[in-house]
Subunit: 313 residues, 2 copies
Amino acid sequence: MDSIVVVGSIALDSVRTLWGESNEALGGSAVYFSLAASHFARVSVVGVVGRDFPREHRHMLAEKGIDLGGLKVLPGRTFRWVGKFGRDLSDAKTLSTQLNVFSKFRPRLDAQQRKARVVFLANIDPDLQAGVLDQMRSPALVACDTMNYWIASKPEALRRLLARVTIFFVNEEEAKQLSGQPNALRAARAISQWGPRVVIVKKGEHGALMKAGERFYAFPAYPVESVKDPTGAGDTFAGGFMGYLASSGAYDDVRHLKRAMLYGATLASFNVEDFSTRRLENLRRESLDGRFSEFLEALAVSEDNAKRAPLII
Amino acid sequence: MDSIVVVGSIALDSVRTLWGESNEALGGSAVYFSLAASHFARVSVVGVVGRDFPREHRHMLAEKGIDLGGLKVLPGRTFRWVGKFGRDLSDAKTLSTQLNVFSKFRPRLDAQQRKARVVFLANIDPDLQAGVLDQMRSPALVACDTMNYWIASKPEALRRLLARVTIFFVNEEEAKQLSGQPNALRAARAISQWGPRVVIVKKGEHGALMKAGERFYAFPAYPVESVKDPTGAGDTFAGGFMGYLASSGAYDDVRHLKRAMLYGATLASFNVEDFSTRRLENLRRESLDGRFSEFLEALAVSEDNAKRAPLII
């Protein structure tokens, strides 16, 4: 099983949705990713927090087996994000972003991390993402995410980065923005021509689309009736995906990529059921496997009708 | 194999999208439904056209084995719809609706149609839909569709109708409008409490969600890179679904309902590739089966990794 290095944000989020709110609760792309991926693989975090970062969060993450050796503590305050969601849960509205110590984040990998086989570059400045790759010896699998801000402000740096990446995770709207294409499929095709062999377009409640090689694989989201807080769903998806893939050890086998899509969706479905990382913190492997099996079964349509006993509704 | 009676519109559509246009081309819910369903089952149409309805359309439909004995010809002009789609293909903009003879449509079933086992009530006045059911002897399977206009103007009649329906097809936005619920899952649950044992929420390019019994089944759309004209996709989906289901003869077996979802999505994916009914007119069963198998294979995630040979991307 290969271990994963993740580089990204560690944040204290205050989020309001129609179903409640959280106040300075644990968040950040590296945190959501790690909590999801830790079910499958050893994860090592590269990130930065301020001196105000609560000790209990460190403990919780460490208890999950997440390596925090690369978590730097700087004088000052931890990154804070304040946002809200209306009825349309796909549309986060940022009320305030306080970068604090995150504005001084220059990722430095230690000797162990440089040797990691798998790396996930969460949504940060593409020049910093490239700087992480420069430090790595010879990773077998490089994956990254990005966001509208970098697409608009550093498109050239992002293009250069994508040429060095195998798996690219991107939101549907951002994929269209980045490629100038009118739909997710054409966007994925255009982006894949810049480098990534696998492009995954995340569509929130509508699931995700993967272009792998020359083919498309569309999967639904796991159906969740009561979404409380969608914050971190994309990074949780990526964590489930990359964690499973790292555990499989096979990075160009479509069977594993498809299973990874469903593990990503399953992890994300848990995450949105509660605020902050609450549901992920309490998620046991049995619950994860149970929902994954149920998801597989709901999707399964056998070629041969006679194969299974009828399920009467 | 049970035969299907479909009651709905026959239209001449003029549609403009960013990829071209059609002018007074064949359309209407009953037409799209019939063309899709005719691959699986015998379909009998109840509808009305004006004296201007082109003879070639009749011939084409008859050649597909679609029974037009219930197609009434009235003095006057055929129903016409003029619409356009922008970059967002989920959003049809109606430029003009000329009901013409369709405004005098009072569906009358002949003796043979009254005995049909399966009926699909496409989107018309819910009182007329109920009037069709009153004429039927004892159908084994009743399905219907509706639209925002009837949800807003005749909600009570629609509720009464739904109490008599087994399968309800509805767009995502309309499901939310009808139920007052914020997401597709809760909407499907609320609507199912009014009668339909199966509620299918159509989400266009994002696939469809089925609530059958107490469970949800989410499926993606078949990925289409070049959508030219989405007109009729929902009725084509329903036609593929109902046609397959009628051919299976098993109406409360989840396995068949799931296959029906994928056949509906496959038929719809062909329909949107060209304007009007062009692609459906030229669609051969081999092409349909080929794409269906490919769709199944892309979705398939086996429980057991070792079951299949690896597919390297």
